[in-house]
């Protein structure tokens, strides 16, 4: 790709960007939230048309008008948010668009054989006859990868593939990528995690505010150097955290059970959950995805009902309270799925910042929204949380980069100054600078005497930020540990159900 320029209203997302991808290499793409990574890849995949610049493949200039062109040229992409048909089976999803038919009738036999052999080759361990809505996120990603392999694509684009995966799944993905590169496929890999780049990538290109800063050889460059290229200044990658001063109990959960469940994997439910979160502590619930964390959060926030048990916030029983009651009682909730629950994508940035508070006297008088106050407030949050977008507070949220969308939710929920902050994967998709800032904000909440409940799949985050860790396995707590006394390995054993310890309330 040479001198690619792509503009959006109010912003040059890619400014004369040149990128070279070699056969058989894994090429990482690094940059802050909103730097233009997804945009650049979407241009390569034909979703956007560049205003200037040329794309060459094997030395020949090519025109990519749409995904079909990209496909013909052997370019495939796994998007930041997957694009699968949920009530189709894995196999149907894979062949969708390139079906072989004989006089109008689908010929699935060949396709099935090909998919099975591909799946076997990469040790994917996937049931190709299951409907996509019944498989885990990690499996869905494998479906996306199989789609590319099935189409014999040679250039594979991964847009933040690891953001939604568990550590085990990430490891498997890394291996898959290595295998594919070894076969001569070229991989473009977007991630915010420098460790992953170090682990698999051969070269790394860095984007900053739409401009290409440079391409480096990963083996010869330190993580610090890469992050400096990315933000333009030195970044401190460690968090300084003082001792927690634990106060009174804010949240008390007793004998919480729930049979029906909302989680995708279908196995987890909540059985007899007991725990407290105290003022001034960050309690982390760790576990492999699909072990009931989602159900627990839904139960606490009121997104779903519970079967039995009590939830007490600051001495008030909220087990049956409506969502708004709980919000007003002091619960903030950074949801797991930002597109489903966290944002109204068709609203502006400003409107999304008042999603929980639009009806309060601060933003409303006699039923009318106070537009000016709302816009001012949004500007304040944009400033404080460094939310980047094309048109500031009036940007449509849909037109924002993934990481910046996440920042809008964080800003809204943290700024409400809650008694209890429930943060589910709060740093998913954020760049290192933003992660650092969010972690410091979580600590600041803690230090000002608030209770923080963190649900995270990332062990590093769990170990660095929390004061106490509860491990969840198949809908139960199997361990209650202090991050100082536990190793990564031990935590892993608890999470996989191989080890249990007494959990006192």
């Amino acid at each position: 790709m040479r001198n690619i320029t792509k503009e959006f209203p109010g912003i040059i997302a890619n400014d004369c960007v040149t990128l070279q991808l070699k056969k058989g290499e894994i090429h990482a793409l690094l940059g802050e939230n909103g730097a233009g990574k997804s945009t650049l890849m979407s241009v390569l995949f034909g979703l956007y048309r560049q205003e200037a610049g040329e794309i060459y493949k094997n030395g020949e200039s090519v025109q990519i008008q749409g995904p079909n062109d990209a496909n013909r040229l052997g370019i495939g992409m796994v998007h930041q948010h997957f694009k699968l048909v949920h009530n189709f089976t894995v196999l149907e999803n894979i062949v969708l668009g390139v079906e072989t038919t004989k006089s109008g009738v689908l010929q699935m036999k060949e396709a099935r054989d090909k998919v099975l052999s591909l799946s076997k080759k990469y040790a994917f361990d996937i049931d190709i006859d299951k409907e996509v809505r019944h498989i885990s996120v990690g499996m869905q990603q494998r479906v996306e990868i199989l789609k590319m392999l099935y189409r014999d694509n040679e250039i594979l684009i991964f847009d933040e593939p690891t953001a939604v995966l568990t550590p085990q799944e990430i490891e498997a993905l890394m291996q898959t990528m290595r295998d594919m590169a070894a076969e001569g496929k070229s991989i473009l890999f977007i991630t915010h995690k420098l460790d992953e780049i170090k682990l698999v990538a051969d070269r790394c290109s860095v984007l900053r505010k739409g401009k290409m800063i440079g391409t480096v050889d990963v083996a010869a460059t330190t993580k610090e150097e890469m992050s400096e290229m990315m933000v333009g200044r030195k970044v401190i990658l460690s968090l300084d955290k003082n001792e927690a001063t634990v106060g009174e109990t804010i949240l008390q959960v007793r004998n919480l059970s729930r049979r029906g469940n909302e989680s995708k994997s279908g196995k987890a439910q909540l059985s007899n959950i007991n725990f407290d979160v105290k003022a001034g502590e960050i309690l982390c619930i760790a576990g492999i995805e699909g072990n009931g964390q989602t159900d627990l959060v839904y139960a606490l926030t009121g997104l779903s009902d519970i079967d039995s048990g009590t939830i007490i916030l600051n001495g008030t029983d909220i087990s049956k309270a409506k969502i708004r009651k709980r919000t007003e009682a002091g619960i903030s909730h950074i949801p797991e799925d930002r597109h489903r629950h966290g944002l109204v994508l068709d609203y502006t940035l400003a409107y999304n910042t008042v999603l929980q508070t639009y009806y309060t006297p601060r933003f409303q008088a006699k039923g009318f929204l106070k537009m000016k106050t709302i816009l001012d407030y949004a500007r304040k949050l944009i400033e404080r949380f460094d939310i980047r977008s094309g048109q500031g507070e009036v940007t449509s949220t849909r037109a924002m980069s993934g990481g910046n969308q996440q920042k809008v939710i964080l800003a809204r929920e943290i700024d409400r100054d809650p008694q209890l902050l429930i943060a589910v994967q709060p740093t998913r998709g954020l760049d290192v600078g933003a992660i650092e800032y969010i972690h410091s904000q979580l600590l600041a909440q803690r230090d000002s005497g608030k209770a923080v409940l963190l649900i995270s799949l990332e062990l590093e985050e769990v170990m660095n930020v929390s004061d106490r860790i509860l491990v969840m396995y198949e809908g139960e707590f199997v361990a209650d540990v202090n991050p100082k006394d536990v190793t990564f390995q031990e935590l892993g054993l608890y999470m996989s159900g191989a080890k249990r310890s007494e959990v006192a309330v």
Binding site: E54, Y347, G367
Partner: protein, 377 residues
């Protein structure tokens, strides 16, 4: 004009042109000799004389109201295909009020008729709303049912309480029960013989429709109520997360949509131009409202214009009957034009993709590419 507005405008012109072209072909097929004359009539009749302008506005009134009704529900993510039934029910109640309450002064009786019609429409709209909110019945199904129930009920009640056997329709309202014309008859009129005038019967209804559209715009864009309704329409999970009561929003939205259609019915049947059929027919106004809402991009202000445009085409279309075109052909032609207008988004995207670059640079694509090749070398 900014680029986006220019694109919208251009694409509207394109779809209109294509729609007209195909409409013309249909006219040609139907009756080649007078096709051109009919085509000209459709395009210009609404502007032939100030009286016709008045008739365009008169015809626009009910379909602006049903357009608003469909658009309002749409903002909450609901498809109100039941506007027809709500419209009929509202119209019927207005007629019944107009025939009774002789004790009231005219002005009060008219106001009562409009309010009662709005309430009746709202009640009719509440049924699919409640079914959707509390029984999860899809609103399209229940709307279709309420349309038919409304139709039979209206036939029954007209037959029973306001029937004029001479015309087989409802009895015309007494003069004092019709909407005031505010002197419009002296503006929108034509002199057909020296000293003799024919006036359009356009009345205060069009002003009420415009006022309602503006009110709806304010409610949707400026109030917390509108914020909630639109949040439910755009993303119901996020609305739930935000603690917005979805069931209440669904019912409220359907009631308001029903009220708007019901008021539309009242405005039609109290203009002194129309009586209610006592045969079992579904009125077309609710369905036309769907096209009007679509054309106006569900924007209340846009609907004022799209409603007027559609009324303009209908008036011209009806006129082609004097050239021997059957009303069915005319309706096909106008529907084709309207449905092509629905492609406006598609065309806009297309234009944006392929002509946007051209427009900005004023060069051909080849030249464009050549230049860029030069830059990068």
């Amino acid at each position: 004009m900014n680029k986006d507005a220019l694109m919208s405008f251009l694409s509207s012109l394109v779809v209109l042109a294509v729609g007209l072209l195909i409409g013309f072909v249909i006219l040609l097929v139907s009756n080649a000799s007078s096709a051109w004359e009919a085509f000209r009539t459709i395009l210009t009749f609404g502007f032939r004389g100030i009286r016709n302008v008045g008739d365009v506005l008169l015809g626009a009134t009910p379909i602006i109201m049903t357009g608003l009704s469909v658009a309002f529900a749409f903002k909450t993510g609901l498809f109100n295909i039941g506007a027809t039934g709500q419209f009929a029910f509202g119209g019927l109640v207005a007629i019944l009020v107009g025939h009774n309450f002789e004790g009231l002064p005219n002005g009060l009786r008219i106001i009562l008729a409009l309010l009662a019609a709005t309430a009746a429409g709202a009640a009719w709209g509440a049924i699919p709303g409640l079914l959707k909110a509390f029984r999860n019945v899809h609103e399209v199904i229940s709307c279709i049912m309420t349309n038919y129930i409304g139709m039979f009920l209206v036939t029954f009640l007209v037959d029973r309480y306001a029937f004029n056997p001479a015309i087989g329709r409802s009895q015309a309202l007494p003069e004092g029960s019709n909407l005031p014309t505010l002197g419009f008859q002296y503006i929108f009129r034509e002199e057909f013989l020296p000293g003799f005038y024919r006036s359009s019967q356009v009345n205060v209804g069009i002003l009420i429709a415009i006022f309602t559209a503006i009110l709806m715009y304010i409610i949707l864009e400026k109030t917390t109520f509108g914020y909630e309704l639109k949040a439910c329409g755009f993303n119901k999970d996020a609305a739930k997360y935000a603690g917005i009561n979805q069931n209440r929003s669904i019912v409220a939205s359907m009631m308001i949509a029903g009220g708007l259609a019901g008021l539309g019915g009242a405005l039609l049947y109290t203009s002194g131009t129309e009586t209610m059929s006592a045969a079992n027919v579904l009125l077309p106004y609710g369905f036309t409202g769907i096209s009007v809402a679509f054309l106006g991009l569900s924007n209340p202000i846009g609907i004022i214009f799209s409603g007027t445009l559609v009324s303009y085409l209908f008036l011209g279309g009806a006129r082609t009957q004097v050239l021997g075109f059957s009303i069915e052909v005319v309706e096909i032609v106008i529907s084709v034009i309207i449905y092509f207008c629905a492609f406006v988004f598609l065309v806009k995207t297309f234009l944006g993709k392929h002509i946007g670059r051209l427009l900005r640079r004023g060069k051909s694509p080849e030249q464009d590419r050549a230049d860029k090749g030069g830059e990068s070398a």
